[in-house]
Symmetry: C2
Subunit: 242 residues, 2 copies
Amino acid sequence: MTQGMPKLEVCLSPALLHLYDTTDTVVVIIDVFRATSTIAAALHNGAKCVIPVASVSECIEIGHKIPNSITAGERDGKVAEGLEHGNSPSEYPGAFVEGKTLVLTTTNGTRLLHMVKNAHNIITGSFLNLDAVSDFLLQQNKNVLLGCSAWKDRFNLEDTLLAGAIASKLKDHFNVNCDSTRAANYLYERSGGHDFTSFLKDSSHYLRLSKFGLEKDLEYCTTPNLHPVVPILKGHELIVHK
Amino acid sequence: MTQGMPKLEVCLSPALLHLYDTTDTVVVIIDVFRATSTIAAALHNGAKCVIPVASVSECIEIGHKIPNSITAGERDGKVAEGLEHGNSPSEYPGAFVEGKTLVLTTTNGTRLLHMVKNAHNIITGSFLNLDAVSDFLLQQNKNVLLGCSAWKDRFNLEDTLLAGAIASKLKDHFNVNCDSTRAANYLYERSGGHDFTSFLKDSSHYLRLSKFGLEKDLEYCTTPNLHPVVPILKGHELIVHK
């Protein structure tokens, strides 16, 4: 821990966000199962942008206004009524998504993203773009907040594990005096640093989603660096950082 | 995980307490550094009861009303103005505390204790009474919430580590499907299950308190089973459960 380095902290739930000052900070929104995984996949596969929205009705409304758009979102593991597609990263191959605007409604991730105020930048992180996000954070030389989307405000293992993976890559370059970050790091060490799928098989969210037959999706979402892009928020749109 | 068993959950911060239903639940208030450690020490050493209060002024007021009472509490590592004693468990040997009422003001632990509603019982836990608390919870056959007092609502390692130690002892007898409990368990495993002092030397709170020269206190607070009592709330008083 050295003075003068930028600070890195982990926020374990949107219900704790008020404890952190995000002014001039780079905030990483993490929603591993599955919003920020799907965002990385869609943008890497050539989507023009992703517009994250909170509600199904807003998703439909914005989808109507934008030509060449896809409306997507799930509730309880199924495509939400009135929308066209789901939350799975595997639904967005290049042949389908290239050049299109994905209007995506998710609950936990989108809510957190809209709660962040005065950040220098907001980006999204997942295992699918782990190294790309870590490299981006290294280059910025700004304070960093890794924001776990959690599940209805409850702490979850998968988002915290990713926060630990990012923190572990960055810890020599940031001032870390935050017990949440220490705990996230321990989780990452405990996972062995590679087989995230196995480590997460015992988590609440995995157990919940696997009841919907989504095991393949969960494996996809825990595979590191398949989609090495940095989605960055510009106005209301997430685009690939160049 | 078996249906029919009572449920065990861990709440990582008072700011997350609203997510848990504490009705008919046994709630364990955990404030390792140092309120619930001091409570265990004082009661084991013969104090008649401990009255936890939120503010210094309330502490003084109640102290005036109760004969043979001690008013205690710290702010920023020093005895608070108007009070007689501090927050250290080592300040309350039997020769001093026996038969007396300890009116104790602390910030994080007391606040959490007063936030809990409709519980079956509220008890306090620390490393000093780890096994006594675990045995008590086993006997109750009720849902359990391990409530970490945290630090100004921020997650902390020491309270979560104790929650993990308790959960680890109870996991075969409770239904555990809570990622916070899983994470707390991993921390406990990572600590090796015995040398809690070393494990916590890198925590925020340890670093903060050791600046006040409180290392010996921190060692005391992380020593398992020195004070094997179960402090239980009856009205406004914590007394030893018989």
